[in-house]
């Protein structure tokens, strides 16, 4: 009976904490997901040889609910999506005269490259405006979020950066897990990218002349010999920052997971065997002493 009472208390407390956790620090992912998921290879806007191309985009129009912004969630079409926006009801600040909200996400070539690292994957232009094209904003406390997925090279750590006022600015980013994804709270929209520290190879940028694009070397980039996988710079086929597209692209490396799983199992089996032996060991009596007769 005591167990049941404690159990009910734990159940109630746990459910309250689940609600509180999701309210205070909402996650775009469910709390439990232990099934099977496939992360398709990252799709590059300008793919190199062996890389997947044709990244997706997304667009839509949301109607207001009771004069407020509705629950907003839009994602590009890859699995997992390479760019997503999340905003709960009432968190987008509406300019006067707003009657509907227009959303779009599309991969683009950047005009300028970041100076504190190199872009991994695509740059995404995320636009959230009202019907007249006036951009919407949000308060940082409302946790409106952008989730970007990066290619395999971002697995060791990266930051979401936003291009604003002529420069790339890093945002406080957290690991969003599946598919090398990162999440950042935003107060405005625009161009976003996953940026990895250190120099990278040539990255295509948007050219001011229509129909042409150029290669730009990120600031601080090492010489080409320091990046053995970087293709030679050549026109008119620019190449993105070279990344691998091997079997680990799009997720935690499988061999690492397998090793971790094996270690867990061996540790579990070892601990279980030790526990069983400890439980099965009979209580030892002290040996009886025979008195010596002289």
């Amino acid at each position: 009976m005591a167990d049941r009472r404690v159990g009910i208390a734990l159940l109630a407390a746990g459910l309250i904490l689940v609600a509180a956790a999701q309210h205070l620090a909402p996650l775009p992912t469910p709390p439990l997901y232990d099934g099977v998921v496939i992360a398709e290879p990252y799709r590059f806007l300008v793919p190199a040889a062996g890389q997947a191309g044709d990244p997706g985009s997304a667009s839509g129009t949301e109607q207001l609910e009771n004069g407020q912004s509705p629950l907003t969630a839009i994602a590009t079409t890859e699995q997992p999506p390479q760019a997503q926006i999340f905003a709960i009801s009432g968190t987008l600040i509406l300019p006067p005269g707003t009657t509907s909200i227009k959303l779009s996400i599309e991969p683009i070539l950047p005009a300028v490259l970041p100076t504190d690292g190199h872009i991994a994957g695509n740059v995404y232009r995320i636009s959230v405006t009202n019907q007249a094209g006036v951009p919407l904003t949000a308060l940082v406390s409302d946790n409106v979020s952008v989730v970007l997925r990066g290619p395999d090279e971002a697995a060791s750590g990266a930051t979401i950066e936003r291009y604003a006022d002529g420069a790339w600015q890093p945002l406080k980013s957290d690991d969003a897990g599946l598919g090398v994804s990162f999440i950042a709270v935003v107060t405005g929209f625009g161009d976003f990218a996953v940026v990895v520290a250190g120099p990278g190879g040539p990255y295509p940028t948007a050219s001011p002349e229509p129909g042409a694009s150029g290669l730009a070397t990120p600031s601080g980039a090492a010489s080409p010999t320091a990046a053995p996988t970087a293709p030679p710079i050549s026109t008119p086929s620019p190449s993105p920052t070279p990344t691998g597209s091997g079997p680990f692209d799009g997720g935690v490396p499988t061999p690492l997971l397998a090793l971790a799983g094996i270690a867990l199992v061996i540790g579990g089996l070892g601990g279980a065997w030790w526990l069983r032996r400890r439980r099965a060991a009979p209580a030892r009596r002290p040996p009886q002493r025979r008195s010596k007769r002289r």
Partner: protein, 164 residues
Amino acid sequence: MPGTTAPAALAAGTLFGLALLAVALVTGWRPARLRAMSVALGLGAGLGLVVLPGLAHGLPAPGLGVHPQPFLLWAGVTVLVGTAEEVVLRGALFDATRDLAGLPVAVTVTSVLFALLHVPLYGWHVVPLDLAVGLVLAGLRLIDRGVAAPAIAHVVADLATWWS
């Protein structure tokens, strides 16, 4: 279990689930008869775990990846993995830790391990939420006096993501 092909992902999930069950069996865990109360409790709590986060904040879950077809095969592996985790965590490990160090330690250890198990797939920011979920499942374990209710709740929450 991520992977870039359906067979690889399904195989990895199956192996992981079977390995966990093997660990539980070695410790002496054996399945008990399934009771209607356990099913009702597990279903109710599972639905709560699905609905409550959405009510609290209203965020939908994004696409988590390609769902390997067919559904029944994916669901089977998902049931196996979710159940196996509960058998090990809220079954064998809970009992062993409670015997050694008492109930509070058992609840804490199993809940922390449960949260950490999800970090490789979701990142560290899921720890607070999954700790809370761990408490829910530990509560079910105590109410039900077995792993059936927490296993059902866990599986219901996992299966619900197919439609997210």
